[in-house]
Symmetry: C2
Subunit: 263 residues, 2 copies
């Protein structure tokens, strides 16, 4: 089993990904983002994404009904179906699914974001949460029949509402069940950079022991990503590779350990 | 087997549909439109839908790349996932799929639209076509596992490109395989009207023999719809009911033969 996470940027080479995947003969799960498409769609619609700052100082996107609508359009709609189309053009038997479909990814809705509004403390409840379980019977049935599930948000909460969730958490959950021999993450960088300002400062290898040092050193998104990789390794992933998705053959590169290898 | 076609208008009562379907215990296929959402999204994006008039005088939508993008967002994304969400909230084990997913609905791309541009005849090739075959192995597998497939456009052509297609043709194709005991079509009218200007002029029953008279009498969309119903009956549908989707319990009404019954 290989689990492939495709980042949400526009420069990921999906045709190259499709060519590479067509040559593989093992079970495969794909999870993808679509941030760039969501933001472009929001821009074209003149739709302002609501960002809030919690009392503890964290800034986050408020996943209100409009944001979930956007996510359905950009992630589960446009990006998911265009990826499926490209994969099928190269002979990959892709089937696109959101976490809602067949309750594929079930989550627990977050309690809310604590904010201060007009001097008063308030709990802003939005449609976001953490994935908790997968419908493995559905995934197994599709995998055994030779399909390649192409999975994206939204997922479904305990009350069957569509909620937003982190792709990293979805990948961790899938891996905790399937124990992939390799988790590949395609991003728009060469991999983990030792100096974010120097795009060539690739870190080629991070051992489980090094990881904590890195997590302490990094900030923000990278810190979260490294933390998620730690959970992946702890959850039974044999190897995690972060590779540049912009190259001619991104998956082949990842299979040859190009990028940053975590093990 | 019941095949349920849900029209693309905003006033169809999906909650009522979900309540009704939750009480059914037979296999079910759903095909839905999303015209109103597509047009609203196009409007909000300031996106002009390209309409062309062929040399034979027919006006049609040009399914260019942008229109297929819109369709993925509005049909396969927003509307499909919100329908799945509502169905699941009422205990219906829904799984949303476009015709691309698992190559569920395979079609043949149209040759093109003959138009006259600057005095010259030209063949405008777009991404539209006719559905020709279904992946019944995938549908059977899902149906046997207790899922309710919720199907929408785009479909996939002979070269694995996403193409637009008529929902009526998809329903006809599904029925030619599954021979539904009843095909239900939910629309935003009481049914077939004998006088389009009088919304209460419901025609309660149309026999196969009457149908040709009606087809000759009607024009445009209604004529096409009646023609499609003729094909449904010829293809083995035992009964086709067109019912008002705006009522409290639309599917129950259709099961009680409210609306226009064709048999």
């Amino acid at each position: 089993m290989i689990i492939l996470k495709i980042g949400g940027g526009k420069d990921i080479n999906i045709t190259g990904v499709a060519e590479d995947l067509a040559a593989l003969s093992e079970p495969l799960l794909i999870v993808h983002g679509a941030n760039a498409w969501r933001d472009e769609l929001a821009g074209r619609m003149g739709w302002e994404i609501n960002r809030v700052t919690s009392v503890s100082g964290f800034s986050s996107t408020l996943s209100d009904t409009g944001l979930i609508d956007l996510q359905m359009m950009a992630y589960a709609g446009l990006r998911n179906k265009r990826i499926v189309e490209t994969l099928r053009q190269h002979g990959v038997n892709a089937i696109g699914l959101s976490g809602l479909d067949g309750a594929l990814i079930r989550g627990k809705r977050n309690a809310g974001i604590r904010v201060r509004q007009k001097g008063k403390l308030k709990l802003l409840k939005d449609f976001s949460g953490k994935p908790r379980s997968i419908n493995s019977a559905l995934l197994d049935m599709l995998l055994e029949a030779g399909y390649v599930p192409v999975i994206t948000v939204p997922i479904i909460d305990e009350n069957n509402r569509a909620i937003n969730s982190e792709n990293d958490d979805i990948v961790t959950l899938l891996n905790s069940h399937y124990k992939a021999r390799r988790v590949i993450q395609l991003i728009e960088e060469k991999g983990l950079l030792s100096d974010p300002a120097d795009r060539d400062s690739l870190v080629e290898k991070v051992t489980h022991a090094d990881l904590e040092t890195w997590i302490n050193k990094e900030q923000g998104r990278i810190k979260r990503k490294l933390y998620a990789i730690g959970k992946l390794l702890a959850g039974g992933a044999h190897k995690v590779v972060i590779t540049d998705g912009r190259v001619v053959h991104p998956v082949n590169a990842a299979l040859r350990d190009k990028g940053t290898v975590f093990e």
